[in-house]
C-alpha cells in the first residue's frame, strides 16, 4: 500500500522536461505485439514518401526536356508518370494512415484493459484518498491524450519526418550549393521556434487548466443548482464565474498572441528562404549553372520542406503532454495491488497464527483478536500525505459462534463499519488477527474468502442492468434469494418484473427497493457469513417493516454480523457488541447488557425517550 507519488495528484503541474526515452521505450513495448502492422505502415510510409517526392522532380524533367527546348512529343508520358506517382503517393498515404491508426488504437485498447484491471485490484484505501472525479480524469483524459499522440500526432509526425528527410536528401543530390541556400534560414528558424515554443507550451497548459477549472465550476453549479437557488446566491455565482471566465480569456489572449506571432513568423522565414533561393538560383540560371527546371523543382521542394516545420511545435506539444500522461498512466499501472490479490502467505505463518490447542468444534465463525487499525489520512495532496488519523479500532476483540446473529451498535465514528471492512479485507489490520472459522483471513485466498462472506453496504449500490442481473451477479442461488429478501413481491408489481432496468446506480428503484435487491444479491451466493451494514435510516417505516420482516428469514441459521441502527435489529440478535471510540465496550446478549447498565442501556433509553 505505497501511496502513489505526488505526481499523480499534482496533475496541473506534472510535466516532463524534454523527451523521456524510458517512457517511450515502455510505450514501444505495447507496440511489439503488432510488429506486422508496424512494418506495413513503415513500408507504406517509405514508398508513399518516395512517390510524393518524385513529383517535383518529374516536373523538372518536363520543363527541362520538353517545355524549355519546346519538344512536345513524349511530354504526355512524363505527365502521366507524374499522375501515376501522385496516385501511388496517395494510395500509400491511405494505407499508412490507416495502419498507424489501427496500430495506435490497438495499443490504447491494451493499455485501457490493463489499466482497468489494475485499478480494480487497488486497495480500497487508495480509492478513499483519491476523489472519484480526479480518478476519472486520470483514467479518461490521460488515456485520451496518449491516444491523441498515437492516432493523430504519431501518424503525421512520422510522415513529416519522412518528408523532411527525403526532401533534404533530394535537394542535396540535385544541387548541394542551392540546397544549402534553402537550409540557411534553418538556424534562424530554430531560434525563433525555440523562443516561442516554451511560452506557447506554458500558456497552453495554463489555458487548459483554466478551462478545466471553469468546467468544474460549471458542472458543480449545474449539479448543485438547487442550493444556489435556495440560498438566492445566483448573483454571487455569476460574479465568481465571471472571474474564472475572465481568467480563461486572459490566458487565451496570451496564447493567441504567441500563435499569431508564430505562424506568420515561420512563414516569413520560409519566404526568405525562397527569396534567397531565387536570388542564388536566378543568378545561377542566368549564368547557366542550373537549369530552369531545377529552379522550379527547388521551389516546390522548399515548400515541402518548410510546411512540416510550421507545425513542428504543435507536434512537440502533443508529444510532451502525451508523455506526461503516459507517465501518470504507468504510475497507476505500477501502483501495488491490494495484498489480497497476491498469493496467500506461506503456510508456516498460518500454522503459527492458528490458536494452538483449540478444539475444532469450538472454533468461532468470526473472531477478532486485539485488532488495531487506522485509516490513512485522506489528503487533498496539500501536505503530509501518508500521515495517519487517530486509530479507528483500538484493540478490538470479540468472537461470534457459527449460526449466530451478531449486532454491532455504537455512535457514529465508533468503528462499526470498519469491523465489516476489515473482515472483507478491504483494509489490512495493523495489529492483531482476524479469524474466519479459525483461519487467519490473510491466509485465505481472496476468491475463497469472498466466496464465504457476503456484504450488504449501507448505501445500496446497484449496477446498471436489470434487477435479475444485479441479483445474479451475487451468485447462483437467485430464486431463493429473491423470495427471502422480498424482491419477488415488489418486482411483480413492476411493469417489466424482474427484468426491470434499475437505471444508473439503481436510480429507478426506490431506496427501500434498492436495499431489498442488494440484500437478495448478497444472499444469492449462499454465504457462510452475511455482513450487513444496516441502512434503514433513510427508509420510510413501511419499507422498513418489509425489510424487517425479511431479515429473520434471511438471518435464520446463518452466521451474520449486522451494523445495526435500529433497535429492532438489535433485539433480534443473539449477540450484541457495543462499540465506543474504536473499542468494544460491552459484549453479550440483550438481557446481559441491559442488566449490566452500561452504554447499551443508555443508548436504549435514548432511542425511546427522545
Amino acid at each position: 500500500m505505497t501511496p502513489p507519488s505526488d505526481g499523480f495528484f499534482l496533475d496541473d503541474r506534472a510535466e516532463t522536461q524534454g523527451v523521456d526515452w524510458r517512457l517511450l521505450r515502455r510505450l514501444l513495448r505495447y507496440v511489439a505485439p503488432h510488429r506486422g502492422l508496424l512494418a506495413g505502415a513503415l513500408a507504406a510510409l517509405v514508398l508513399g514518401t518516395a512517390c510524393q517526392l518524385a513529383g517535383p522532380y518529374l516536373i523538372k524533367i518536363v520543363i527541362d526536356r520538353h517545355v524549355t527546348p519546346r519538344v512536345l512529343p513524349g511530354m504526355a508520358g512524363w505527365v502521366l508518370l507524374y499522375l501515376a506517382a501522385l496516385a501511388g503517393a496517395m494510395g500509400f498515404l491511405f494505407l499508412q494512415m490507416y495502419a498507424v491508426s489501427a496500430l495506435g488504437q490497438r495499443v490504447i485498447l491494451a493499455i485501457r484493459a490493463e489499466m482497468f484491471s489494475r485499478v480494480q485490484r487497488l486497495p480500497v484505501a487508495w480509492f478513499d484518498r483519491t476523489p472519484t472525479g480526479r480518478l476519472m480524469t486520470r483514467l479518461t483524459s490521460d488515456v485520451e491524450a496518449l491516444q491523441e499522440l498515437i492516432s493523430s500526432g504519431l501518424v503525421s509526425t512520422i510522415g513529416d519526418v519522412a518528408v523532411l528527410a527525403g526532401t533534404a536528401a533530394i535537394l542535396l543530390w540535385m544541387d548541394a550549393r542551392l540546397a544549402l541556400v534553402v537550409f540557411s534560414v534553418l538556424p534562424l528558424l530554430a531560434v525563433f521556434v525555440e523562443l516561442l515554443k516554451k511560452r506557447i507550451r506554458a500558456a497552453n497548459r495554463e489555458a487548459r487548466r483554466k478551462m478545466a477549472r471553469l468546467n468544474a465550476f460549471l458542472q458543480e453549479h449545474v449539479t448543485g443548482v438547487a442550493v444556489v437557488k435556495a440560498f438566492g446566491q445566483e448573483g454571487k455565482s455569476d460574479r465568481r464565474f465571471d472571474a474564472l471566465n475572465a481568467d480563461y480569456l486572459a490566458e487565451n489572449v496570451r496564447l493567441t498572441n504567441y500563435f499569431s506571432l508564430y505562424f506568420p513568423g515561420v512563414e516569413m522565414l520560409a519566404s526568405f528562404a525562397v527569396a534567397l533561393l531565387l536570388w542564388h538560383g536566378g543568378g545561377g540560371l542566368i549564368s547557366g549553372a542550373i537549369t530552369f527546371g531545377t529552379l522550379v523543382a527547388f521551389l516546390e521542394y522548399a515548400q515541402k520542406f518548410y510546411n512540416p516545420i510550421k507545425d513542428m511545435s504543435d507536434k512537440y506539444n502533443i508529444l510532451q503532454s502525451a508523455l506526461a500522461s503516459s507517465e501518470r498512466i504507468f504510475q497507476l499501472l505500477d501502483t501495488d495491488v491490494s495484498p489480497e490479490y497476491g498469493e496467500p502467505a506461506p503456510r508456516g505463518r498460518a500454522e503459527k497464527a492458528r490458536p494452538a490447542g483449540r478444539a475444532e468444534s469450538s472454533v468461532p465463525a468470526i473472531e477478532f483478536r486485539d485488532v488495531w487499525f487506522s485509516y490513512p489520512r485522506v489528503d487533498g495532496g496539500v501536505s503530509g500525505a501518508g500521515a495517519e488519523r487517530p486509530p479507528a479500532l483500538r484493540g478490538v476483540s470479540f468472537a461470534l459462534e457459527e449460526g449466530r446473529a451478531g449486532a454491532i451498535v455504537g455512535a457514529t465514528g465508533s468503528g462499526k463499519t470498519t469491523v465489516l471492512s476489515l473482515l472483507c479485507r478491504f483494509y489490512e489490520a495493523e495489529r492483531g488477527h482476524i479469524f474466519l472459522f479459525g483461519r487467519d483471513i490473510r491466509d485465505i485466498p481472496r476468491g475463497e474468502l469472498r466466496g464465504m462472506i457476503s456484504l450488504v453496504l449501507q448505501e445500496p449500490f446497484l449496477f446498471s442492468g436489470s434487477i435479475l442481473e444485479n441479483v445474479a451477479s451475487g451468485g447462483a442461488n437467485v430464486d431463493a434469494a429473491l423470495s427471502a429478501a422480498g424482491v419477488d413481491r415488489f418486482a411483480s408489481g413492476l411493469d417489466a418484473g424482474l427484468s426491470t432496468d434499475v437505471g444508473e446506480r439503481g436510480g429507478r428503484l426506490s431506496m427501500g427497493q434498492r436495499q431489498m435487491v442488494s440484500i437478495a444479491r448478497a444472499l444469492a451466493r449462499n454465504p457462510k457469513v452475511l455482513l450487513l451494514d444496516e441502512a434503514t435510516s433513510s427508509v420510510d417505516p413501511e419499507t422498513e417493516h418489509g425489510i424487517r420482516e425479511a431479515l429473520p428469514r434471511v438471518l435464520a441459521g446463518r452466521t451474520s454480523l449486522v451494523v445495526a441502527h435500529r433497535l429492532s435489529t438489535v433485539l433480534s440478535a443473539d449477540r450484541i457488541i457495543v462499540m465506543h471510540k474504536g473499542k468494544v465496550r460491552e459484549w453479550g446478549t440483550h438481557e446481559e447488557l441491559l442488566a449490566a447498565g452500561g452504554i447499551y442501556r443508555r443508548l436504549h433509553t435514548l432511542q425511546f425517550d427522545y
Binding site: P131, E220, V222
Partner: protein, 561 residues
Amino acid sequence: MIRDAVDAVSAAGAGGGAGRAAERLRRAVALMALLAVLHAFFRYLSRRSLFVAAREVEKELRRRLFSHVIRLPLPFFQGTPTGDVMSRLANDLSAVWLLLGPGVLMLTGTCITWLIAIVFMLEISPALTGLSLLVAPLVVVVSREYGRAFHRQHRGIQESLAAMNGTLQENVTGIRLVKAFTLEEREEGRFGADCREYYRRSVAVARTSAKFHGAIGFLAGAGIALVLYFGGRSVIRGELTLGGFVAFNAYLAMLAFPTMAMGWVINLFQRGNAAMGRINEYLRLPAELPEDAPGPPGGTPSPPPGAVSPPTCPILEVKGLVFSHEGGEKVLRGVSFALGKGEVTGLVGPTGCGKSTLLSLLAGLYAAPPGTIFWEGRDAVEIPLTERRGRVALVSQDPFLFSDTLLENICFGKESPNPAAASEAARAARLLDEIEEMPRGIETVVGERGISLSGGQKQRATIARALYGERPVLLLDDALSAVDSETEREIFEGILKASGEATVLFSTHRMASLSRCDRILVLDEGRIVEEGTHDGLLSLRGRYFDLYSRQMLARELEEAT
C-alpha cells in the same frame, strides 16, 4: 486581408523575376523579401485581432449562458441530464468560437486568396484557369462530404466513449461491491466490450479520414498535372511565356490548401450554427427573475402586509395546495396547514407521499399556484423571488457541498464569509470538533478538489450552512438520516438554541425524533391526514399510530414478554 494580396504579389514577383536580367532579379527578390515581412506583419495583426475578438464574444456568450442557466427554474434541471447542460456550456461554446475565430479567418482568407489568384491567373491564361479550376468544386464537395461523415462517426465515438466512461465510473464508485462479490472478471468483460466497440468505431473514423486525405491529395495534384501538360504545350506553341507558366503553377499551388480548407470551413460553420441553435434554445427558455412576482390573474396589487394581516397571522400558511410536476400525477392534493412563529413542526409520511415536494415549494424552488402559500398573510406569488427564498433555509435530503473550503460552504448564503459566525453554526450542527481536527480547520477544502467527508459530516455541514444565514424559517428534509439518534438529538438542541425564534419544519423517517415537536403533520398520498402533538396523535390510533407502532413494535413485544 492584406496578407493574401501580399501572397499573390509575392508569387508574381517570383514568377516575374525568374529568367530575366540580374538587375530585375535583384529587385524582384528584394521586393519579395519586403512583401514577406509585410505579409507576416499583417497576418499577425489580422489573426490577433480576429481571434481576440472571437474569444471576447465567446466569453460574453458563456457569461450570459451561465447566468441564464442558473436562473432557469428547477424543473428544467430535473428534466435535463447534467451531461446535456454541460455539453452546451462547454462543447457548443467551443464550436461557436471555432466558427467565429478560425472559421471566419479561414473563410475571408480563402475568399481573398481565391479572388486575387484567379484575377492573376486569368491574366496569364484564361484557358488554363478554366481547366485548372475544373477540379476545385470536386475538392470542395469531397471535403464537405468527408466533414459530414467524420462528424457523424465522431458522434458515434463520443457515444461509445460515454458508455465506456460510464462503466468505469460505475466500477470505481461501486468498487467495494466489485471486490466483495469478486466481480472483477465480469467487470473486465463489460469494460472490455465497451473498449472494443470504441476501438471499432475509432478505426472506422481513421479509415474515413485516411481515404479523404488520399482523395483530396490526388485531386489537388491532378489539377497540377493538367496545367503541367496543357500549360507546357502552350509554352511550346508559343502561346505562353515560361515565366507565365511557372507563375501560374505557383498560383495553383497556392490555391490547393485554401480549397481543401473550404470543406473544413463549411463544416465549422454548420457545426457552429447548430451549436448556436442549441445555445439559443436555452437562452430562449424563460428564466426566473429576482423581481419575479406576477400578481394573481386579476392583477390587483397586494395590499401592504401590515395593513391587512393581523399581528397574529401565522408566519407561513398553506391553503389547499395542489401541485403536480410537469406532465406528472398530482403529488399534493390539497394540503393546508399553518406554522406559527417559533414553532417546531414535524412532517412524517411514507416514501413518495410528497414531503420533499412540499418543502421545495415552501422554499420557493417550485412555483406554487397563486393563493396557496401565504407569508404572514401575503400571497407568496406577490413576493419577489429573492425575498421569498431569503426567508427560508432549506436543508435537502441529499447533502450537496461545493468543492471549496468549509468556510465558504457554510457561509454560502452570504456575500462575505464570517469565520466566527461560521464556527458558531458548525458548533450548533455538531461539526466543529471534527472541523478542528482537519488539516486546515475551517479552511479545509472539501469535495472533488479536497478531502471527502462522510455522509453524516456532509449533512451536518449543510445544516451549518442553513443555520449561518439566520433565516426566519428552517426547513429540514430528512436532513439527518446519516447521523445516529444521539447526535441527531444534540443537533436539534443546537438548532433550537442557535436559531432562537426560528420556525422549524422538518421531515423525518425516524419516528423517535418527532416526540419533541410542538406539532406533527402526517402526510399521506398528497394530503395531511392527521395533525397534532405526538401524544395526541398516538391516542388517535390512526395513521401516525400505525407508522409509529411499526417502528416501535419490537420494543412493545419486548415489554410484553
